[in-house]
Symmetry: C2
Subunit: 166 residues, 2 copies
DNA sequence: CGCGTTTGGTTGATGCGTCAACCCGACCTA
DNA sequence: TAGGTCGGGTTGACGCATCAACCAAACGCG
């Protein structure tokens, strides 16, 4: 990690580790989301929204709060919430005049209560128990460092506020 | 990691580590694929295909070889290759009668040559140099173990060969 | 030979994610 | 009061991923 480190390219070992990592994530993500979809009829996106709503005190949030929590773009949020409303998982209520609040429905609550334990168990079985607590904690820390690096890079690569995105 | 370990749920620390991890991947993946898309006009999927083709000796592969290498479903492969052909990155040639071979075009070669160094450099900057070699290697090993666990789970959860998918 | 099954691949419908454009109320500021 | 412009949100178009259905050559074997 010296000044310029090793130049831009990845050497054999690094390349190997990176590719192992990519394969792992692809495999794991596919498996988890398949499980969610087939056993409970929820996509990972549905799950993410429902987790956030169900963990809030009131079970209702503004769309932009959900956006802050999930880091989704607002248009993705809007589209997805519309679809979830159509399926009865949430509803939009225009309570305090102006913008609607997003409320989790009884059906949405049932859905997340039904799938959360199984999902957590799967994560435990496939990841936590495989790696053990020490490595798990190490990975958490490593992850935080990478997030910091990416955020910093985002600032330098699109410096002013021209970016509603990057 | 004893017989039943700690029950299905994740405890605070585990939950924390897992969520850090999820956030990291979401952030990193978004950043990398955005970079690829905006600087070079390639999606991560395009990149994956072009890497495989350009690393093969001949620059030409059958679709199912690409499928084995990428783990994509065949229909995704077919759709994506059609789109890439339309954009001139690859072409399908019906050489040995029957199924077509996928050939990387000159334009495709130029595209991957143009973006690969920058992409590798970004991975180095945001991941490899942040974590250092030791942790990087540890993560590679951890990833392999998780892949093994997922594969094993796939076999037990859909035991016979009813699964063209899971 | 004739009939099934497997293998490699395509197609169409549908849902999702992104981008760019737009809408509208609120808040300035002249 | 008129004119920004800013924030929260919606819309439409388009590319991508998945699923189920289909197609055709090759194989297997009666």
């Amino acid at each position: 990690m010296g000044a310029v480190a090793k130049g831009p390219w990845l050497d054999e070992d690094e390349q190997q580790a990176w590719r192992s990592y990519l394969l792992m994530w692809k495999t794991l993500e596919a498996h988890l989301s398949r499980h969610l979809q087939r056993e409970f009829g929820l996509s990972s996106s549905d799950f993410e929204i429902l987790v956030n709503l169900s963990e809030s005190e009131t079970g209702r949030m503004r769309a932009y709060e959900l956006g802050a929590a999930t880091q989704w773009e607002k248009s993705r949020m809007s589209h997805h919430l519309s679809r979830m409303e159509k399926r009865g998982l949430i509803s939009k209520v225009a309570c305090d005049a102006r913008y609607p609040e997003i409320v989790i429905t009884e059906q949405g609550l049932e859905a997340i209560r039904a799938c959360a334990p199984a999902h957590a168990a799967l994560v435990r079985e496939l990841v936590v128990d495989v790696l053990g607590d020490d490595r798990m904690i190490g990975i958490g820390e490593a992850a935080d460092e990478v997030v910091t690096a990416v955020r910093k890079h985002q600032e330098t690569c699109c410096p002013p506020e021209v970016r509603g995105d990057c």
